[in-house]
Symmetry: C2
Subunit: 133 residues, 2 copies
């Protein structure tokens, strides 16, 4: 499991930003969950929390829907993909133990800090369009 994979599997986004990023309605996203195409994590208060991987999947689902494939078909396709990945993942595990969510968060924080060190800190004023002139 690489750092990037940990990062991509962190449950961070509530449904609002995900709707915007995917152009899917809340209804659609919940329906896909109901049919087990995705399984976003939940907050303490039962709100859905999506990872970048979840968002990837939703975008794929969208593609497949556009191709006329139904829930069952999409479920199978996603499952096959998943199997391929697992099959190709032959790296020996350094550590067998599970990471707690807290540990994952610490890890991500470290990564964000590191990335930041070699990155810009633009935008002192929140209007992101300012970043482009």
């Amino acid at each position: 499991m690489t750092g990037s994979n940990i990062r991509r599997s962190m449950p961070l986004f509530p449904i609002g930003p995900v709707m915007q990023l995917t152009d899917l309605t809340a209804r659609q996203i919940r329906y896909y969950e109901e049919h087990q195409l995705i399984s976003p994590a939940r907050s303490e208060g039962n709100r859905r929390l999506f990872s970048l991987n979840d968002i990837d999947k939703l975008l794929e689902i969208k593609d497949l829907i556009d191709q006329g494939i139904n829930m069952a078909g999409i479920k199978q396709l996603l499952f096959v993909q998943n199997q391929e990945v697992i099959a190709s993942d032959v790296k020996p595990l350094k550590s067998e133990r599970e990471l707690s969510n807290d540990e994952i968060r610490r890890h991500l924080r470290k990564e964000i800090v590191q990335a930041g060190r070699f990155n810009q800190h633009l935008s002192s004023q929140g209007n992101i369009t300012r970043l482009f002139h």
Copy 2:
């Protein structure tokens, strides 16, 4: 402006996930905004939306606070950093025009899709600890 910079400046995260990622309280984050150390965007309904850059900044602020520096000092330090970045940014701009938030979102979506194409789609069951055994 690189794709990565666009990605890092997208206002996506509500305050809850940011609290978890930074180990800051909402009170602290709002206080830093009040003192103009950060300026997160706002949703239509006035909720704060943070970008990865904002999160970087918050982590830096945390460091500086730990070093005993006060708001005014931190503000100056962040400003200086910002200036350095601007000074070093000598690339000729391909396009002068501003990008709308919608365009940025489309761009990010494209990036996520592309990244996803060459990436794993693990986690069919939402419990992220499953990714580690």
